[in-house]
Amino acid sequence: MSEFKDLVDQHYQALYRFAYSLAKSPDRAADLVQQTFCIWAQKGHQLKDRSKAKTWLFTTLYREHLWHARRSNRFPEIDLEEVDYHLHSHEPDASRGLDGKRAVELLQQLDETFRAPLALFFLQQHSYKEIAAILDVPMGTVMSRISRGKDQLRAKMRDDAEGKIISIEGKVKKNG
């Protein structure tokens, strides 16, 4: 239990922020983190090199997210919580400062392909090589996705600064 506790203390915050970037709702992010540690409780003993626990946790969380996303695609659902969340994102926000919430909102507007590598990059917990291992893609692909993802992010931020918000349907709405 002590090892579990240490592991939770070391990583649960970064895992949550990564999950939140992917999952679009705080509750789902929390579920993902919890589920990740549950899987660790069941299977973590199989990991012989304990120094790789962090990468293992992020990899597992990402896979859980993909599994859930595939399931949701097969059985589309209207997640009231998400709808509520997105409705909030249309509300005018005078401050528009880049706080954590806004950073996550911007990441969530990116294509799925760029979201995970970019979130991991900005969390600064992993090198691009480790990100490649977590996402199970070649290192060159990670570099490319980070570079292109940043371009997309900058474009979103520019739109944001000009008072435009991209809605979930992909339409552009003027603020105010």
């Binding site: 239990m1 706080d99 954590g100 806004r102 691009y128």
Partner: protein, 328 residues
Amino acid sequence: MDKTQAKFLLSSFRPDGADAHLPEFANALKLAAENRELGEWLAHERATDAAFAKALNDVSIPEGLRDEILAVLAYDGNSEAEDTDLDGLFTGGMASIAPPEGLRDHILAAMEMEQAAAAQENSKVTEIKVWRWLSVAAIAAAVAVGAMVTMNQPSPSKADQGILVNDDILRTSPNIDRLSVQPVAVHSAVQQMAVKLKSPDQIKLNTDLDCARAAMQFLDTKHHPVPSQLPVGLAEAKLVGARDMYLDSGQPISLLCFEKEGMGMVHLIVVDSASLSDADELSSMKSISLKSCYGCDLTQFNIAHWREGKKTYMILTKAKKKDMVNLF
């Protein structure tokens, strides 16, 4: 290496400089030091990245998340330990118990029941056996427990032993055209029930039932799914009532409402797995995970769901997830 290649490479250079020691960045960093335009680009890029990284790393963590994780881990760990202890405790004791007289006949009778039920299903005859949920293993276990009890007590009746075998009673299944009812996704069923439970006044519970067993009998008379198991925490909880219900698309569903000390109302929902399109993706109760309800902001329910045999179970409660582990 030209400037474009260097920019591409340096895009993956973490703003806190953690990658400075990696040789693959060395040439690009050297070029940035020599080329003013590239150097300015890198400085701007790192400043922008650092601002974004700071914002992302400032995302607040939900209060209680750590405790919830540790509560679930503690539950998993304890359950393993308890299982081990239990195994050790019972292995020796059980070995000394001789099979009760008639056990073989009970098992054979139960097997016949199962086979008959399977044959009924295969031939699509719409009849079910009452208490078919009592499996062979459950009968054997119940008889064994009964045998242990009889060592010190007068022989109880079959009903007193809790063996619910009424193999003389056959019932007609619900008057519903099952073939026309399409399976729904688990989350859809959960969501529908969460919405219904949001207005409990509109659910007319049968509150004349004094215990879970009475609720099971009631649901059986309604030809609705009967739970073949209860989480430990619910077996001891006070039953508030039960109700036979249907999902919007027609699937029969059973609702049992309990009041659990320290948790408030706990709603157990039972549905045939065949009514659900993705029930096979659920785990068993042993490795259950606790979730926030879809649309939780509106309903405030937390959920747990699992599948055992042909039944799928869902628990909806407004209790905290860390308290929910006490149910299992």
